[in-house]
Assembly symmetry: C2
Homo-oligomer: 372 residues x 2
């Protein structure tokens, strides 16, 4: 076999559902010299990462860290540590990721009560309330804060208050939400919340920030069965992230140093400023794309600014248009997932990508392609 040439990526503007554009300083941080995962210096970095994650999650939760895997590993960590075989869980399913939580929970041995809603809609708090009444022994209610497959923005505050009065946990997927739209883990009484790095944090994919409330920690501690995963077992992992500092698995050093730099940038901008920037840029794009006869797929009043899912009018070949956008303009957007595959686009204006200039560049390119 001939030697393989070095991998030098072509230039891309990343306006899909993730990964989002990464600042050169964050990329440079990933190239810092290697160091041991038990080195006192690196343990300090891990502490700082956990501290900054607490700020971004708006929580005081002790058990806050980055799972050594992508957002879906965060989902699996949330599920397998709380579920025991035979448990009932209630899962809002209004897109791909709610479905994925349900699938993951079944594999962990749970009986899943799926609250299905049409794709693009959010799960009404009343549905959660009545499901909880019907299944009072439920281990957790799971909702997707930012449904990456549809662009729906799930309200959490009311459900949080409701679930807080029970022994049930509230599990939240905010892979695409964190640092893009308001999220208040403590104030909203969210118990297990996970995210990914490659969305509004603008850090390369590979880590999953996660946080467990004291209520969730107590549930994990009271388990009568062993967690089905060794790699994601939070009781073991927290002996590394906590004061004990004992070896569990080798932490992904470079990725964590990248995340450290990315979190520094998020906090330097300020969370509220970042939320406002996403809100403004996303609203602008949504206005303009509707001028081009596109139909937004998320329910009005519950649209994420950072991730817009829309259908093109009849006659537009979305796949061909998307490929030409990539080939001729170097701009990546996403196609539809599941129900929306082959008809929809997903445009992400996330993290470093959420700028007016990027909206202009995308619309100009699309207009040019549609004219021909």
């Amino acid at each position: 076999m001939d030697p393989v040439a070095a991998a030098t990526p072509p230039e891309r503007l990343l306006l899909g559902p993730g990964p989002s554009p990464v600042h050169p300083e964050v990329l440079a941080a990933q190239a810092r010299p290697m160091i041991g995962h038990l080195d006192p210096w690196f343990l300090g970095v891990a502490d700082e990462v956990a501290g900054m994650l607490r700020q971004v999650f708006r929580t005081q939760n002790t058990l806050t860290y980055a799972v050594s895997g992508t957002g879906s590993a965060g989902m699996e960590t949330a599920v397998v540590n709380t579920v025991e075989p035979g448990d009932t869980v209630i899962v809002g399913v209004n897109g791909v990721f709610g479905g994925r939580i349900a699938d993951t929970a079944r594999r962990a041995g749970a009986d899943v009560v799926a609250l299905e809603e049409p794709w693009g809609r959010v799960v009404p708090p009343e549905r959660v309330a009545s499901a909880l009444k019907a299944h009072p022994e439920t281990k957790f209610v799971a909702l997707v804060h930012a449904e990456t497959s549809t662009g729906a923005h799930q309200p959490l505050e009311e459900v949080g208050a409701l679930v807080a009065e029970t022994d049930t946990l509230l599990l939240v997927d905010t892979v695409t939400g964190l640092a893009g739209v308001p999220l208040e883990v403590d104030a909203w009484h969210l118990d297990v919340v996970y995210s990914g790095t490659q969305k509004c944090l603008s850090v390369p994919p590979g880590l999953a920030p996660i946080t467990f409330s004291p209520k969730a920690e107590a549930v994990v501690e009271r388990r009568s069965s062993t967690v089905r995963s060794w790699y994601l077992d939070v009781e073991a992992v927290r002996r590394y992230w906590g004061a004990e500092r004992s070896y569990h698995h080798t932490a992904p050093i470079s990725a964590l140093i990248g995340l450290h730099e990315g979190l520094r940038r998020v906090l330097a901008e300020g969370l509220e400023t970042r939320w406002a920037r996403h809100a403004e840029v996303g609203r602008l794009f949504q206005e303009h794309i509707q001028d081009r006869d596109a139909t937004l797929l998320a329910q009005e009043g519950h649209r994420l600014p950072q991730l817009t899912s829309f259908g093109w009018p009849e006659g537009v070949d979305e796949g061909k248009l998307r490929r030409r956008l990539l080939d001729e303009h170097g701009i990546e957007v996403g196609g539809g997932l599941g129900t929306f595959a082959g008809t929809a686009w997903r445009v992400g204006l996330m993290g470093e990508g959420a700028t007016h200039a990027n909206v202009d560049r995308l619309l100009d390119a699309v207009d040019g392609l549609l004219e021909r």
Copy 2:
């Protein structure tokens, strides 16, 4: 909270059990601009990574890829995809990592027949043969090729030939072995083999190369129960790594570009040359450390050159010595794990770290510290 300063690591010479030193070109590859995980360019990189992994594993196996997690995620992938609840598995336990396979297999629902050997010794092929006779329905036999906790080098060829004649699979942990000592996946009839990146490949931690033989693929396809992990389910993951290219989870882009560069370097050196370099440098270190009254903990004739575990003579405070080596000389070595904690050192001369100059630097530093 005050803003956190940028994380700039102190200079370290990494001679512990991992991570090993990483070449600047590999680090630089991790800082290349971000690109989408479904971008045609990146799919080409993923193909090249799989192709180079086949060369390093010495296999033609189609199902060869990098798991999106560290070596332990590779272990869990190997176990959860093959085990179904109630299966019997035979696991050689002669150190931490054999014990971890047994633990992971129990969590997946297996009945584990543990072939325990004293730490530092290898598992005799006859023991495997008689265990297989006693448990003919065994799903897999698992052995640790390179036991990172003891430095024992498990022979595999004879067991491979033996297991190949049965319906049982041979599962091999070569986290510390790959590219450091000879490994022949196809010629030795190994069925599920996983590794890590941060050992003899000299790539940062975060990915787990893995390969499944056609026999192992058939076992996975014949499962009657769903794999307990969503994240590590190989039937789903292979739709991304294979021709289908469908989305499963977002691949860790930067880490894979780093691995791509690291594999290029391994193959440019040549596998046999790299094995010989490890053998020579490791043997040299083992001779010299014994001159300092250290006791090698791995059984004679079965010592890994790349990872040496040894006990200091009475009166040497290993923890203090190790800390001074780090603080005063910037050299990291590892302490003992499990049985050997508090008495042993583990010295890794792996990948970029396996040089005569590093042996000299380590011994000079240790001699200086012991004199005082």
